[in-house]
Amino acid sequence: MNETDLIEKLKQSIINCDEEEAKKVAEEIVAAGIDPVKAVNEGISPAAKVVGEKFEKGDYFLTHLMLAGEAMKAASEILMSKLSEKEKERVSAERAGSVVLATVSGDIHDIGKNILGLLLSVNGFKVYDLGKDVDAMTIVQKAIETKADIIALSALMTTTMPAQKEVIDLLKAMGVRDKFVVLVGGGSTTREWAEEIGADGWAETAEEAVSLAKRLIEKKRGA
């Protein structure tokens, strides 16, 4: 199989949410001596775009999104393992940005957060997903440690929304508020709430959050 066919096969395996096939094809690409960066750019990235579009249109559900995400991650790891440190740095620099993502303290609902994490990943963001019921200090420390561009905070319940404010208050208290774009979202949150607590942005759906993240990062980098 030639280079074009193998890369197309990789793309299709991800669109089909087939992790085993994606791993197998990634190994074949490495064995054939094909440029891993080209395989990522022409195989994985376009596949991610297709998966994201299918999800947005309602053709794919969350499980598809997660399975495609797993396939993408597995194939990327195989391809990236063959890159030199310098090449890895170059790929990393080409990322859309990095995001520390969490469902805030007291809240155990993570489906919305998981969807956002996957959509951010397929759109080129490096995502540090801290999980659910995460305390404010853990979130802030991770953002500082990873030099993240964005902190994205999810809360489904009205009584857990104040924990989003707690993260912002902590950033202010530690004198690092300006270093991060803070996005809030989740079932019970509103634009008014985001404004009230001093977040940089709010989005109703994960798709809107991705667009917002891109816009705010551009703005931040342009500032």
Partner: protein, 460 residues
């Protein structure tokens, strides 16, 4: 016989069951088995038959849900273990589960029953705003719901501040707010002359500790009231939820199970959500050992359940439960539009109609995508419950309901993802007199007449 049967068995299995990661539970255990049972039983959504009359479809959905639950069980997030049951245990629980309970007390006591498809028993109607409200309108808003003639039970609005302080889950303020909620709700019930009415509480309390704080037969949650143990989507629990389960049973109040499978989430589409809905009722029975369920399948992105797909899955899962179990289950509506709009009344009517003819009781109704503070009034719930009672009074069959709902849906389905927000409770009600404003009542009557003209049944 009344649950609980075996609290320790559940708790022990949460500590000894097969171990797996949460991601593996979602993707490698739940998801493939769900796809397998949908295929095996050939379950297919038909957009033209929203209320199917085919009993075999209901039985297929039941079998699929049972097979799914037997294989995957309930995942305990706290211990990373699955709580599993065998078929004989589930059969025993189904056989011994009550088909009716008496809730509330004195002259306000009501019977809450398992219902059959096209049952002649009227639905138990629980009125609930399902939303947060300003602290100062908690009592009038509660009174507005409590004084509704068709309300057999009521759930209060949710506080997000207490004495002006924003409540945070797990904090001492949440404990304080939970107690205040219980006291004020009881006061509201007495003020409308229904001191013994069945109260479902405490929505203000998310944490286990705040829930437990409100249990008190004098001023708080009584033994004749109901409390909820939620589940985490899909088919999951954790120690905070199990703490509530143990406390409620030992306290002796009625235990409800709250489950809302997400359409578009791990369930996939309408077929998968219906099957998970059945499995979630089994979790309610086996893990929470609940006396009744609140069932609210919901669109994962827009938080409504009045679309064609959602109404279909509500119908088939209720039919499955009605035909094959003794469960008492309340169907919780979620509309896209907000109060004071024609659309919310169409959505409420559709939800009440489909739920009751399919075997559900009613829990009505979360409106405005369940996210806007003060956006709820009892008028929307009234619409759903008047229709629900009308279904019984007029002896509506599934085939009739199917034709009627297909006439209601075109009135709103193209606006579901871009709905009118409507008005707040304060804008729709005279708060001092606790009565709906004239313009909303006029709108109600107008929409009611329009719906009657296309065959929607009403009790009066």
């Amino acid at each position: 016989m009344v649950p609980p049967w075996r609290i320790n068995t559940v708790l022990e299995r949460a500590e000894t069951g097969p171990i797996c990661t949460e991601k593996d539970f979602d993707l490698k255990i739940l998801s493939p088995k769900l796809q397998e049972v949908i295929k095996e039983h050939d379950i297919k959504f038909n957009p033209e038959e929203i209320v199917p009359s085919d009993n075999s479809l209901a039985d297929d959905v039941w079998e699929a849900g049972l097979e799914l639950y037997l294989e995957v069980g309930t995942f305990c997030v706290s211990t990373h273990r699955r709580i599993l049951f065998d078929e004989s245990e589930i059969k025993e629980a189904l056989k011994t589960s009550p088909t009716e309970i008496i809730v509330g007390s004195g002259r306000d006591a009501r019977k809450m029953c398992h219902r059959q498809i096209e049952d002649s028993k009227p639905p138990f109607c629980l009125f609930s705003p399902d939303i947060t409200c300003d602290e100062e309108i908690f009592v009038p808003m509660s009174m507005a719901y409590l004084q509704e003639p068709l309300a057999d039970g009521v759930c209060a609005p949710i506080l997000d501040t207490i004495e002006g302080v924003r409540i945070r889950a797990g904090s001492p303020f949440e404990v304080k707010a939970s107690v205040a909620h219980a006291m004020m709700f009881r006061e509201a019930a007495r003020r409308v002359g229904r001191p013994g009415i069945f109260l479902q509480s405490v929505g203000t309390a998310e944490s286990d500790v705040a829930q437990i704080a409100a249990s008190n037969p004098e001023w708080g949650e009584r033994l004749t009231d109901g409390r909820f143990v939620a589940s985490i989507a899909e088919l999951k629990t954790d120690y905070s939820l199990l703490n509530k389960m143990v406390h409620y049973h030992l306290y002796g109040c009625f235990v409800g199970s709250l489950h809302g499978p997400m359409y578009g989430g791990y369930c996939g589409g309408a077929e998968g959500t219906a099957v998970v809905g059945v499995a979630a009722h089994l979790q309610a029975l086996m893990v929470n050992q609940a006396h009744y369920s609140n069932y609210f399948p919901i669109h994962f992105r827009y938080s409504f359940n009045t679309s064609r797909e959602l109404l279909w899955l509500i119908s088939v899962s209720y039919q499955a439960i009605a035909r094959n179990t003794p469960f008492i289950s309340l169907s919780n509506g979620f509309t896209s539009a907000g109060p004071g709009t024609p659309m919310v009344l169409y959505e409420a009517a559709a939800h009440g109609l489909v739920s009751v003819v399919s075997g559900g009781n009613l829990w009505e109704i979360a409106v405005a995508q369940n996210k806007h503070k003060n956006y709820a009034t009892p008028v929307e719930a009234r619409m759903a419950c008047e229709v629900g009672h009308g279904v019984v009074k007029q002896g509506i069959k599934r085939s009739d309901a199917n034709e009627i709902v297909k006439m209601i849906l075109p009135k709103y389905e193209d606006k579901l993802t871009n709905p009118p927000l409507g008005k707040t409770f304060q804008e729709c009600y005279d708060i001092k007199r606790v009565t709906p404003r004239k313009d909303y009542l006029e709108l109600y009557d107008k929409i009611k007449k329009e719906l009657m003209d296309i065959g929607v049944p009403f009790i009066y």
